[in-house]
């Protein structure tokens, strides 16, 4: 017997649908942007863990500044780089809540370096999500602290020259050395497998907060196809070839 599409598309056969915590607002990100995937996963994790009423999120400055439009939870919007300080203030005064910050590479690894390192060093009992796409997306493709050597950006149009521009920064390895961090991992979201692993990491990052044993820190090596001036598919390929050797995936610390 042949099965028609109509037979398959029935409520009892549903295996995946958009999280109910995602709002109806269309995301403003460029087509193919990794932010969309990570935003979606965070919504799914909060929904699946039943933490809508228990979660306070902190959004950064950068492409994801308007993240609070997409996930139906309480949010605070931070100044550039200051999300970990907000997260500290929130968690210290509401230790009963789940707190996470969401920042890009400029936010977390340049202007907010001090706040990042000290929140991790104090072992603030929060989850920090770090989107590393090696470029400043929102402002139009300038060099980031994580821009690879030789990689072009609008403020290093002929490629990053370490002699002039300094070296790309591996923030995740740095915070892993701090006693305050409990779980430090580097993930990606370019394939279905990578997305599933990332989701597990996010679940861990939320669940860790039950035990108050330190900071969970998840880097997501990401693409910025607009900034990189590629198609989304090319950007994924370029990321695998160029970003992963310098920013290798996997758990760095899990205690």
């Amino acid at each position: 017997m042949e099965v028609s599409i109509k037979d398959i598309i029935k409520p009892e056969n549903l295996v995946y649908q958009k999280s109910s915590l995602l709002t109806e607002k269309p995301m403003h990100y460029c087509p193919g942007c990794t932010h969309g995937v990570v935003n979606r996963l965070i919504a799914e994790v909060i929904e699946e863990l039943g933490l809508q009423q228990e979660t306070i999120g902190v959004t950064p400055v950068g492409c994801s500044v308007l993240l609070y439009n997409y996930i139906d939870i309480d949010w605070q919007e931070a100044a550039h780089g200051r999300a970990p300080a907000l997260g500290t203030g929130i968690k210290r005064l509401r230790p009963d809540k789940y707190v996470f910050t969401y920042q890009g590479d400029g936010d977390l690894a340049a202007i907010g370096t001090a706040e990042t390192i000290h929140a991790c060093n104090r072992g603030e009992n929060i989850l920090m999500v770090f989107i590393n796409n090696g470029i400043y997306g929102m402002t139009g493709g300038q060099m980031a602290p994580t821009t690879l050597e030789g990689m072009a950006a609008s403020t290093c149009p002929f490629g990053r020259d370490p002699e002039r521009d300094g070296n790309p920064l591996r923030m995740t390895e740095i915070v892993a050395t701090l006693p305050g961090t409990r779980y430090v991992t580097r993930q990606a979201a370019h394939t279905a497998g990578a997305v599933r692993k990332l989701k597990k990491a996010l679940i861990k990052g939320f669940n860790n907060q039950k035990e108050n044993k330190g900071t969970s820190f998840i880097e997501v090596v990401s693409t910025c196809n607009s900034g990189w001036k590629m198609t989304p598919v090319q950007a994924n390929e370029w990321m695998v070839e160029n970003m992963f050797p310098f920013y290798p995936l996997g758990d760095i610390k899990d205690k």
């Binding site: 099965v3 995946y16 979201a189 279905a192």
Partner: protein, 78 residues
């Protein structure tokens, strides 16, 4: 023997035609439409629906949460 048959529903209004789902599909089910949606994007659709196994890989990589996935077990014809 039973095999998995699947189908996807793409929210063509919010699809931005990034084609990450096209790339992620192991059975080449998805293509981009020749027509564009209201935002001017060539949205994704099932170009080869018979091949869909409902694996959800397309939905996993979709940045705009446009894809709903259905899956059912179907008895293999003898």
């Amino acid at each position: 023997m039973a095999k998995m048959k699947g189908a996807i529903v793409v929210d063509m209004v919010s699809c931005k035609g990034c084609s990450l789902c096209v790339e992620a599909c192991p059975t080449q089910v998805i293509g981009l439409a020749d027509e564009v949606n209201a935002k001017g994007y060539n949205y994704a659709y099932m170009v080869n629906p018979e091949a869909c196994t409902g694996c959800s890989n397309c939905a996993m990589v979709c940045p705009d949460s446009c894809i709903t996935v259905y899956r059912m077990k179907v008895a293999e014809p003898a």
